[in-house]
């Protein structure tokens, strides 16, 4: 089974994140980035499927700026076989719809038009929209099986478990299909030093929009269906209210909680 895993390079949540003044997109300069942690689960699951089958290849695909090559590198170090990096000035500022368009064309090109299994994380850790998997499935004309917390590949089918608040669903789809996975599905491996050394020799394709036959007018900030009008930094956390206990501490506490509709 050949699997394409779509991964995203995101700013490290540990460091300060900000937006650019000029176009109100995420400022990626000077911020350390990494392979989105939620995508590590998809990479891990794909590796497990291929390892269990004893055959097949895992291709990691990312759409992003130059530094996004680091997300591919990490996935290759974990054990993926090859990488595809789509990078084009014109992509900057693309919304989810445009991103899914680029991803879809790249998946087609990477698989000769016939993907077997496409996998993604359940959302990115920066945008947290969670809609790209569904859009991508739609564009590729594949069944979309999202939020998998367990995955089994059968003869021409894929079966997942989706855990909801009140029930767990078991869902089966015919292959080819697109599956997005949750952070419950596995424990992503660390790269090993062997993996680090091996990754250096693995092929990474570099494609631009022209390679995918996408017109620049279909992507980028100008083509986005939504635009960010303004950005305000969340105010620093204000100091809480201190109640000095003058014998009535209990009732004042209850008053406060009732006032906030907690009780």
């Amino acid at each position: 089974m050949n699997i394409v895993v779509c991964v995203k390079y995101v700013p490290d949540a540990q460091s300060d994140r900000s937006f650019r003044d000029s176009d109100r997109t995420v400022d990626r300069d000077g911020v350390d980035g990494l392979l989105s942690e939620l995508d590590e689960y998809a990479v891990e699951e794909a590796l497990k499927i291929v390892e269990a089958a004893g055959e097949g290849e895992v291709t990691v695909l990312t759409v992003g700026p130059e530094a996004a090559a680091n997300a591919i590198k990490k996935a290759l170090q974990m054990g993926a076989d090859r990488g595809v990096h789509v990078e084009d000035e014109a992509i900057h500022g693309s919304d989810a719809a445009a991103t899914s368009l680029v991803l879809a064309e790249a998946v087609r090109k990477a698989t000769g038009g016939t993907p077997e299994l496409v996998m993604t994380g359940m959302s990115s850790t920066d945008g947290v929209m969670g809609v790209v998997p569904a859009m991508l499935a739609e564009r590729l004309g594949l069944p979309q099986v999202t939020y998998a917390s367990e995955l089994t590949v059968g003869e021409g089918t894929v079966t997942i478990r989706r855990d909801g608040d009140t029930a767990s669903e078991t869902i089966e789809a015919s292959l080819p299909a697109l599956v997005s996975v949750t952070d419950q599905i596995n424990e992503p491996r660390y790269p090993s030093f062997k993996g680090i050394m091996a990754a250096k020799k693995k092929p990474v394709e570099q494609w631009g929009l022209a390679d995918l036959g996408i017109d620049t007018s279909q992507v980028g900030l100008d083509a986005a269906w939504t635009s960010v009008v303004s950005v305000t930094k969340r105010p620093p956390r204000a100091q809480g209210q201190i109640v000095a206990d003058e014998g009535d501490g209990g009732s004042r506490l209850a008053e406060f909680l009732a006032g906030q509709k907690f009780i």
């Binding site: 170090q77 660390y190 790269p191 090993s192 030093f193 062997k194 680090i196 050394m197 250096k200």
Partner: protein
Amino acid sequence: MAATRLMPTEEGQDLIDLTREICDKELRPRVDEAERAAARDESFPTEVFRTLGKAGLLSLPQPEEFGGYGQPYEVYLQVVEEIASAWMSVAVGVSVHSLTAHPVTTFGTPEQQQALLPEMLSGDQLGAYCLSEPLAGSDIGSMTTRAVAEGSGGEPTAYRLRGRKAWISHAGHADYYTTFARTSDEEGRGLSCFVVPADAPGITFGTPERKMGLHCDTVREVMYDDVPVDASRRIGAEGQGMAIALAALDAGRLGIAAAATGLAQSALDLAAGYAQERQQFGRPIAANQGLAFLIADMEAAVTSARATYLHAARLKDAGRAYSKEAAVAKLTATDAAMRVTTDAVQVLGGAGYTEDFPAERYMREAKVTQIFEGTNQIQRLVISRHVLR
């Protein structure tokens, strides 16, 4: 703050990135509780060593032909330093494990290397280094553990080990015990080196020592009661043991120097962060020059500790003599760790003296680095002998 590093290779930088990730996700979240638990129940972080082993971090400096990763000491030691900045006991364990393989990689025959190293360096195994004895610490030439040769005339076919080793790291958890024992009465020239498997009959362990710190480095006595060891497991010639032990310690000392540097770095980071947050007299305590200069001295100590071990490492990597420089590094880095961790407690004040912050643990952990793998008095002995020959 992560230390500024200039790695000699891209793969070296990748290794540091991998180490930092594992430290952040696996070591830092566990260290406080694990050290506290080990002080009570003598538990040992086997799982953590498995994780490091799987990632390849337990066999970095050994040659690739033996199953290692052929990394220069310049890279390996910085990995040890990163690990120590997260969990000192584990970094010491990584260094000790390297020490246990050193005799085989350096003095073993090709047959011994093929027979022993693939398992030792697999990442699944952990070694112990059995040199010290209750009555022979600094003065290892006075050891009394004996290896009695068996076989009729000619080369011995086997040995029987009898005696007692003290303060042995990983004892009871290790898969093999690199052991030094006496094969003749000629003091320092009568020692030989053996690799004893953990399941050899007659090997037993004392109860873990109750220590001041470094609780996850389990330390016990190892007792040898006529333990049979095949002659194929004697590394080097009879009588070569002292030279083998000292060569391994030269390399091992660098591991301790690197670990001490990482520990000091953590203490400095903790102190610098606290000093900028803690307010007294209406401003951060760091705004007082008297305290800011203390922090500056801590930074200078950490940076110079790192420089001394890297200098020795580069000499070693280039195949040059580095014994003196290794002793200088061990002395400098461990004294720096003691001072910096003590000052970190000072910067944190009363909070530093409580278990709510790791400063007091760092200080307890620093102390042992001035003692093991040759006390700092012994380092001065080594250095002065080199200078005054």
